[in-house]
């Protein structure tokens, strides 16, 4: 028999390394043709950090996104970054990028100011133009200024930026410490269909709301939410590295026995709401949600199973075998 149920879960997730002490740096170089090279030490592990960091550099410089190239060549030539973890890159490296781009821009504003008969402080830049903030008609091409500055004024158009957080020691008796930069929030509703004959659970619908502080790229935020939802679903229903935990017997050795969700398992209805409560010190108010998106689904799914069939299963993954055993136990 197929039975449906609904479950919800909420979550918090800290942005930044627990314990602090982490560093991210960035340099920005503006070339004579107005394009910019952004140098970072943060690795893109597929989450899209090159994209959002390039967007931040472009925004601050006032040039199109397509004019920014991103470089993370390695430890000899790149600025320092502790790493891509703790949902920290958008926040930490982002802050460094914003600072670096602003420094580079300020050099260009100095160069452009006399031509625009304004002070550098009165200038702004967007879409490849430098202009007087209160009189945008008075403008000059970003490329022209970059060329003039680099070649004729003999200036290096380079900016540097730094994010660094103090180390916060933990009191071993009370746990007192400052364990994050900012906190992100989430809520999710999941609807499942449970087949009580086979023990199979199908996730029909996932509605997710995540507070990202400020979405640098809403498409990538949705990608994180949906990707994390599917990964969380895998942990809730399918993935079991130790089928006979705690012993290591019968472990899967490959992806034909270690089962992860694929395209056919993705819920037909996935709806994402981006909520924005700006963080006090993140770039454009951003908070990190890269990790937490995978944390919410499991309790929501397992609670939805309870709603459908009336049994609590306190151990994940809820494989068909585990579910059938629980149903059997509840019957007897």
């Amino acid at each position: 028999m197929k039975k449906r149920g609904v479950g919800i879960a909420a979550a918090q997730y800290p942005t930044g390394l627990a314990g602090g002490g982490d560093v991210s740096q960035a340099y920005v170089k503006v070339n004579p043709d107005g394009t910019a090279d952004l140098f970072i030490g943060s690795v893109d592990i597929g989450q899209g950090s090159k994209t959002v960091l390039a967007q931040m550099a472009a925004e601050e410089l006032g040039i199109p996104y397509e004019w920014v190239r991103v470089h993370n060549q390695g430890t000899d030539t790149s600025p320092i970054c502790f790493g891509t973890f703790a949902s920290r890159v958008t926040y930490a490296t982002g802050n460094a990028v914003v600072e670096a781009a602003r420094e580079a821009r300020s050099i260009l504003f100095e160069v452009a100011a006399p031509s625009l008969q304004a002070t550098p402080e009165a200038l702004d830049a967007a879409d490849g133009k430098i202009f007087v903030r209160d009189d945008p008609g008075r403008s000059i091409g970003f490329r022209d200024v970059a060329n003039m500055a680099n070649i004729f004024m003999k200036k290096m158009i380079v900016g540097q930026g730094l994010f660094a957080r103090d180390h916060s020691a933990t009191d071993p008796d009370t746990g007192a410490c400052d364990p994050f930069c900012t906190m992100a929030w989430a809520a999710q509703l999941v609807e499942v269909e449970v087949d009580t004959d086979t023990g199979q659970v199908e996730v029909l619908r996932m509605v997710s709301a995540f507070d990202v502080g400020g979405a640098i790229n809403p498409m990538l935020v949705e990608g994180q939410i949906e990707g994390g939802a599917v990964m969380g679903m895998g942990a809730a229903l399918m993935e079991d590295l130790y089928p006979h935990y705690p012993t290591p017997e019968g472990q899967p050795t490959n992806l034909n026995t270690y089962i992860i969700p694929t395209a056919v398992d993705i819920p037909k209805k996935m709806e994402s709401v981006i909520v924005e409560c700006p963080s006090t010190a993140g770039p454009y108010g951003a908070k990190g949600i890269g990790e937490m998106t995978a944390n919410v689904p499991a309790p929501a799914i397992v609670s939805a199973i309870h709603d459908a069939v009336g049994v609590w299963i306190d151990e994940i993954p809820v494989t068909p075998e585990r579910l059938l055993r629980a149903l059997e136990k509840a019957d007897s």
């Binding site: 919800i8 592990i45 973890f85 967007a126 009370t174 942990a235 490959n254 994940i316």
Partner: protein, 453 residues
């Protein structure tokens, strides 16, 4: 000022290159004369190596170099420097014992087959709850629980949990387990180490933590025997590199990680073999190695005891959590920290008492994975919330809304919160899902707590 780029749905910077196969990952880097690496892994779970003979393997055609624990200048690395690159003492099945660099995979595998190893076996322990008991087989000489200061666990103590339980109308208990999970990134561990002359070594790495791993690796390769004690600590080794091997990481784009590449898995072995043979060496893990022997999310066992008022306010929460770290610390001590700091959930609970144990067992070391220790914390906390709601017959939305953090609340670690927005996020989720919240819930805000001035 209107933003023109930030907030826009810009195309992924590297999206087109990824989907057209143009992106060059580490395994796509070809350097002429590169040797292939294979590693001998222990078939035994626990014991001490009595005899290790690589001479027959070394004389095989195509074999250029073999390394064992004797070739590792500083054979202990990690945040807690307790993990050997190549083992002398075996603590889990599959632990690397020796590594071969050969002209091709066939020659390397043949050599692995010819390495003779004899181990005095000892009794292992797999269950962390067994490992915690006095008299349990020792995974490591210092004991099976990592010591946080004087305590065998990370403690978070906030308010007075016993007073909270006295004040409560209901005591509701739960016990939860999350089984180990593998990251399963598309790209397995890969490392290509290229000697550049004058002691310089370039490593093409899949690391997601360049600076951290650079420190660990220079610590492992440190030649100065007097400095063995520093064991992987970054600061000293980084400053001393000029007398030493200089390592430069080259990093392209990583083919998925989810935390699988927060620990060094392959760069130390390729570095040692490149230095020994003077030739470029590449080690690419098989999917089987990735599944069984890379780090993963370790298993958790969590007990929660909550004191709850009739109206659903949680006034006390006591948590005991056990993390199965496997045989070495890797990032587990930090994973437990993060778990303990977050396990009270996004709720303002005035009395909290948490004990989180990082327990060693004779398994592949677990370590970081997306969500760190907060994944099991969220599972246990939110399961518990739904059980409380069911038992007290309170709507699960309402239970969360009345307990949710408000602006200016303090976490159990004494951090004062800002930009608190759980209530609004719950309301947004309910609205999108078509759940109609009653007015008294729909009108709540994170600005202030109802009934408070």
């Amino acid at each position: 000022m209107q933003r023109t780029v930030v907030g826009q749905r810009k195309k992924r910077y590297d999206g087109l290159a990824h989907v057209t196969g143009e992106t060059r990952f580490v395994d796509d880097v070809f350097i002429p004369g590169t040797l292939t690496v294979k590693v001998l892994r222990s078939q035994v779970v626990k014991g001490n190596i009595r005899r290790l003979d690589t001479s027959a393997a070394a004389s095989l055609p195509g074999v250029e170099g073999i390394v064992t624990h004797k070739d590792v200048p500083n054979n202990a690395f990690g945040l807690v420097p307790d993990q050997p690159v190549l083992a002398e003492t075996i603590r889990y099945r599959g632990q690397p014992i020796a590594a071969v660099a050969a002209h091709d995979e066939r020659a390397a595998l043949k050599a692995i087959d010819q390495i003779k190893v004899e181990v005095d076996e000892e009794e292992p322990v797999f269950d962390p709850q067994e490992a915690m008991k006095p008299g349990a087989p020792k995974v490591r000489p210092e004991g099976n629980c990592y010591m946080y200061g004087e305590h065998p666990c990370r403690k978070v103590v906030f308010g007075d949990v016993e007073a909270g339980f006295k004040e409560a109308d209901h005591i509701i208990e739960g016990e939860f387990r999350t089984n180990p999970v593998e990251h399963a990134p598309m790209e397995t561990q890969v490392s290509l180490a290229v000697p550049e002359g004058k002691g310089r070594l370039t490593i093409y790495t899949v690391s997601q933590s360049l600076l951290f791993h650079h420190g660990l690796l220079t610590g492992i390769l440190k030649m100065d025997k007097d400095d063995l004690r520093i064991a992987g600590l970054a600061e000293k080794a980084l400053h001393d590199w000029k007398d030493d091997v200089h390592v430069a990481f080259r990093s392209g784009t990583v083919g998925g990680s989810f935390g699988a590449k927060n620990d060094i898995h392959a760069d130390h072995v390729t570095a040692l073999l490149a230095l020994k043979t003077g030739q470029p060496v590449k080690w690419r893990w098989t999917r089987e190695e990735e599944t069984l022997y890379s780090t993963h999310r370790g298993g958790w066992h969590i007990r929660i005891r909550d004191g709850v008022k009739r109206d659903g306010r949680i006034v006390a929460r006591q948590v005991t959590s056990i993390r199965d770290a496997g045989a070495y610390s890797a990032l587990n001590t930090y994973v437990v920290d993060k778990h303990c700091f977050m396990v009270s959930g996004p709720y303002s609970i005035p009395n909290v008492y948490v004990e989180g144990y990082c327990v060693y067992t004779n398994k592949t070391p677990s370590s970081s994975m997306r969500g760190f220790g907060v994944f099991p914390a969220t599972f246990a906390c939110e399961m518990q919330m739904n059980k409380i709601a069911a038992q007290l017959k309170i709507d699960p939305w309402e239970l969360r809304l009345i307990n949710a953090y408000r602006e200016g609340d303090q976490t159990p670690t004494r951090r004062v919160l800002d930009s608190v927005y759980l209530i609004e996020t719950l309301q947004a989720c309910a609205e999108k899902a078509g759940v109609k919240l009653p007015d008294r819930l729909a009108s709540m805000t994170s600005e202030k707590r109802e009934g408070a001035a």
